[in-house]
């Protein structure tokens, strides 16, 4: 059910059958107008807010419209470690999620084709984490990996971890949480391309004396590229903006705060709206640049 978006095989549409009709406008207008009002204008609002200046003799949280571009210099000076950390953590988590998900998606999509019921039940297990609260899942890991937990005490007993070391509150814990939480977003698009993979191409590779590794590198990977692109984007974008995993009450600590944490703190706690807005604009711009370059280089522009 959920994420049918990534798992449905749509037949290609004949563009010649599309008609021109006033009905199209009637169908499109309400929804597109909604997106203009509640997606596009908020972005403009965010841009305007990011240049605001504190009101003279005003209270905390009172600002007036201006062109205070120094806000950007200020937030980059104050928060560049958070910005770098966000993209660094998101990148590592995306690579880990890809490494974790590819073999799993390959098994479900290619090897399990003979047993359709088992295939769909395995898919259900992949999306099962979505049915339980994101926050509770993350808190469960916090308890399972706390200093007193079975996993950590065992690691310490086996001298695989220093006796005074912690796991929760470290960058490794935050990256672990991000990886875990976004694995389904990686596995589903991978599955949906691998499921359509024609195994005869792999057999052809074998017949032409390619080693299994060569077949994988030269045939399987290129054919599953759309899934890899979609999966990495669906993991990287939300991971870069996430602030739950890095939050102190969850898997993070004082030294793991990401850009999402400082946006939240500036907007909701410090009431420094221009700083939060400037950070949001920076986050969004960097992501759009990365996505555009990545999609162009990977050569699949048909994401929607």
């Amino acid at each position: 059910m959920a994420f049918a978006a990534f798992t449905t095989n749509a037949a290609p549409v004949e563009p010649t059958q599309r008609r021109k009709s006033p009905i199209a406008l009637f169908l499109l207008l309400p929804g597109m107008l909604y997106l203009v009002l509640f997606f596009l204008t908020p972005l403009v609002s965010l841009l305007l807010t990011s240049f605001q200046t504190p009101l003279v003799n005003g209270d905390v949280g009172q600002f007036s419209y201006a062109f205070q571009w120094e806000n950007y210099v200020q937030v980059v000076t104050d928060y560049w470690p958070h910005i770098l950390r966000s993209f660094g953590y998101a990148l590592v988590a995306t690579v880990l999620a890809l490494a974790f998900s590819y073999p799993l998606a390959y098994f479900i999509g290619v090897k399990a084709r003979k047993w359709p019921l088992m295939q769909s039940l395995m898919l259900v297990l992949v999306i099962a984490p979505f049915f339980i609260s994101f926050l509770l899942r993350t808190l469960a890991w916090k308890q399972l990996l706390s200093d007193e937990s079975f996993v950590i005490t065992s690691l310490k007993a086996l001298s695989l971890m220093a006796p005074d070391a912690h796991f929760t509150g470290t960058p490794a814990a935050v990256i672990f949480g991000l990886t875990y939480n976004f694995i389904p977003f990686m596995t589903l698009p991978l599955y949906s391309t691998l499921e359509r993979l024609d195994v005869r191409y792999l057999e052809a590779g074998n017949d032409l004396y390619a080693s299994p590794f060569q077949v994988f590198r030269k045939v399987t990977i290129p054919l599953s590229m759309p899934g890899i692109v979609a999966g990495t984007l669906l993991t990287f974008i939300p991971a870069a903006g996430d602030y739950i995993n890095a939050s102190r009450d969850f898997l993070g600590g004082p030294d793991t705060q990401m850009v999402g944490n400082v946006i939240e703190a500036n907007f909701l706690v410090l009431l420094n709206y221009p700083a939060a807005a400037a950070l949001s604009i920076i986050l969004m711009s960097v992501i759009l640049v990365i996505v555009t370059i990545y999609v162009k280089r990977a050569g699949t522009e048909e994401l929607l």
Binding site: M1, A2, A4, A5, T8, A10, A11, P12, R18, K20, S21, I23, A24, M32, Y34, L35, F38, F39, L40, P42, L43, T49, P103, F107, L121, L123, V124, V126, A128, P129, F131, I132, S133, F134, L135, L136, R137, L139, A140, W141, Y180, I237, A240, G241, D242, Y243, D249, F250, V259, G260, I263, E264, Y273, A276, A277, S280, M284, I287, V291, L304
Partner: protein, 268 residues
């Protein structure tokens, strides 16, 4: 030996990977039976109390939050499903100007981090002086669900055979009759999938909600607020119940789909 190892490596890995994905779910479920006090961290013994008296803790704060989440999810799902389905039909079936721009405007909300969506809407509500309430949360959720509805329903519209609608017209069905008796029933599975997806996205959303909720508490927000001082086991009860409910729906759908396909295969 080498061959059998290679043969078993992938299935064993996949089984372990799926077990790994289940670990926090099982943990949450087990701790819904914990005879805990204020915070639900150490295991203190088995009890059914939390399941039987979910709504009594903190004067029903958990249930209140859960109820808010259900209402918000239901209303946002209806809005997003109607608006998104209309867009999906238009995109597949009709020619219109600004096609590229329309696709871009539908893709961008999915490529924008939630924290930016949340802060943007909050900045707009602030600038317009709109107080935060259930309504602002519903407006926000509808916005981010629309694109996902379009993608889901679009796939279904694309796979629809236009010959079926032509047959309806040939049999003197009016455009309304053709839509209601032919097109809509055929699209229904896609629309239902989109609605379930919307509800799931809305129900579990925290980041956008946090920016636009003011004093209204949803279920995820309740957990976030309580995280510092300890989450009562009742939250685990609600999360586990929702999980089981969703799992039953999905598994039933999958099993009946598999059974139907098997039956069709036998007939051919």
């Amino acid at each position: 030996m080498k061959i059998s190892l290679g043969k078993w490596l992938l299935p064993v890995y996949s089984a372990l990977a799926l077990i790994f994905l289940m670990v926090p779910i099982v943990y949450t479920f087990i701790f819904s039976f914990n005879d805990s006090l204020k915070s639900n961290v150490a295991w203190r013994g088995f009890t059914l109390d939390k399941w039987l008296n979910v709504c009594t803790v903190q004067n029903g704060a958990v249930c209140q939050a859960f109820g808010n989440s259900l209402v918000i999810g239901a209303v946002a799902t209806v809005f997003a499903t109607v608006l998104g389905t209309m867009i999906a039909i238009a995109i597949v079936r009709y020619r219109f100007r600004f096609r590229t721009q329309t696709n871009l405007l539908l893709f961008l909300p999915m490529a924008t981090p939630e924290v930016v969506l949340g802060a943007g809407l909050a900045a707009q509500f602030l600038a317009l002086g709109v107080p935060k309430s259930m309504t602002t949360i519903i407006l926000a959720h509808t916005m981010f669900c629309i694109s996902f509805v379009v993608v889901t329903v679009k796939a279904r519209v694309s796979s629809l055979d236009p010959a079926l609608e032509e047959a309806g017209r040939d049999l003197y069905g009016s455009p309304t009759q053709v839509f209601l008796r032919v097109t809509f029933p055929l699209l229904l599975p896609g629309i239902l999938a989109a609605a379930l997806l919307s509800f799931a996205l809305s129900f579990d959303d925290f980041i956008i909600t946090n920016f636009n909720s003011g004093s209204v508490t949803t279920f995820p927000k309740y957990i976030y607020i309580s995280a510092a001082r300890g989450i009562p086991a009742e939250a685990n009860v609600i999360a586990s119940a929702v999980f089981i409910f969703a799992l039953v729906i999905v598994v039933t759908a999958q099993v009946s789909k598999a059974a139907r396909e098997k039956r069709l295969a036998r007939q051919n």
